[in-house]
Amino acid sequence: MDCPTCVDKHVIRVENLCKTYRVPQKPPGLVGSLRSLFSREVQQVHAVQNVTFEIQPGERVGFLGPNGAGKTTTLKMLSGLLVPTSGQINVRGFRPSDRDPDFLRRITLVMGQKQQLLWDLPPYESLELNRALYAISRAQFQETVGQLRDLLDLGALLDRPVRNLSLGERMKCELAVALLHRPDVLFLDEPTIGLDVTMQATVRTFIAEWNQRYGVTVLLTSHYMQDIAALCNRVIVIDGGKLVYDGDLGALARNIAPHRRILLRSHTEMTLDALSAYGPFVREGGSTVASVHASVVNSIVNRLLVDIPDIELSVEDASLESIIARLFQRGEGETRNGRQ
């Protein structure tokens, strides 16, 4: 089932992608409404600007950015829902905006919890509908539904009307419907949004398992950094529609936040003066803390363990949230490419 036109090793290739929306402006109030009847101002919003990246088969890539950065717009262009203003997209050898049915059979896009499920019918009806629409054989249908039922712990959920399901239950069913046709490329837009911690973990585990089992390519947006940390080695960061980082998640952390926090606790009295020989320690609540460069953490820890016998210590990385926040604060024009 490989696409005959797929001649390069990339599943997704995006070059100089741009999307500009025309947003009508209406002054507030009745007068504004009346005025806009006769003359309406239109503002050009550059949602995506000259974004370029490539993704290889089986990669799990995190797509990060603040609200309004252009993540969802890019996903919609990659899945063929939106036509780019300019630039090129190639997904599995297809131009998505052509919406070729053979292309649509190879991808899926999950956005929120109410995308493909038929609201008033049990999820099984949506699965049956997709079985027909994607021309899936009965044997493959039963096999895939069985796998999805096990991995997502769907149990009896498939037989209850969608409107009676909880948010988390709907999300699990949404994933099942979206993956029934075994697409090669998964575009997941905030797949864990609004879910409780347990359900988030279930969804994360499922995505990782499905990726390993079928070698599918995953491009994922999420505001939960645990999703990104657990699933993606590579991240693409966009801000204000522009790509600001594309590369290894660890390298991003080292680059943006090169410091680690060493936390100390000891039964014997430790003065800050004495500790200053090891690093810039300060009191913070009940702990003694030092923020030091990652390159010297090991040597400091080793010396502390040797010199102070009853010491308890731990080393904390900067949270991914703070790393991303710092990245966004660096402003425009600082495009980084971590991929050498």
Binding site: L81, P101, L104, D120, N130, A132, L133
Partner: protein
Amino acid sequence: MKHFFRSLREFPALLNVGAASMVAYRAEMVLWILSATLPLIMLAVWDRVAMDGPVRGFDQGKFALYFAATLIVRQLSGAWVVWELNHQIRTGGLSSALLRPVFPGLWFAAENLAAIPIRLVILVPIVLLIWWWRPELASNFDAIYVPIALISTLFAWLGNFCIQWLFGSFAFWLGQTLGLYNLWFGIWALFSGYLIPFAVMPESMADVARWLPFRALLGTPVDVFSNRLPWSNVVFELGLQLFWVTTLGLLASFVWRMGLRRYEAFGS
């Protein structure tokens, strides 16, 4: 086009799901059908007018047959895709249909067609009541026209679906097109034979209306059902109907394809 015909193979599955949706909404569907009673009101009005004698050859029995046929054709050829499409374009709900490898129109068409059995269940008792009230309508009815009338009703449904698809697609530019569609509906009601039978219309009005698309969407099958068309005219009238259906279909398809380029998938 190749993909469109391939998609048609999946139509039975779409009909199944459409029928399941209709069952889920059955109470609302019954109310929706019962609300489309304008032909019954028009029957009451014209029946009163014809009490003192026939109007241009239309007596009470003929009016009863005409408006019973109008009720049947309207119920069987009705579509509501303009509301669905308008809503889905505006809210971004269309995205899920666009992600599937079949033409979204087929899904909407299946949903519309799946309602026909439910509509028939409501329709049959109403028509029998009209028959009981004005038994003379039977003397003007000729069952031999029924198969042709059903073909003509199918064309009318296709035409209605296409025109609603066309108006629905304008939402890609305008956001909200129901006002525009209601304007069309008003003109359609006047020129399609919905309110006034063609035979009773002022001649100059009927001469113009005969060549407009409105008649193809209701008047033609109603005239066939109610035995108003001589055999010699049937082929021509069905040909004219087919011409309008094709024209509206091509126009709807063109506007849809242009509109898709502007789709912004809001809210999803």
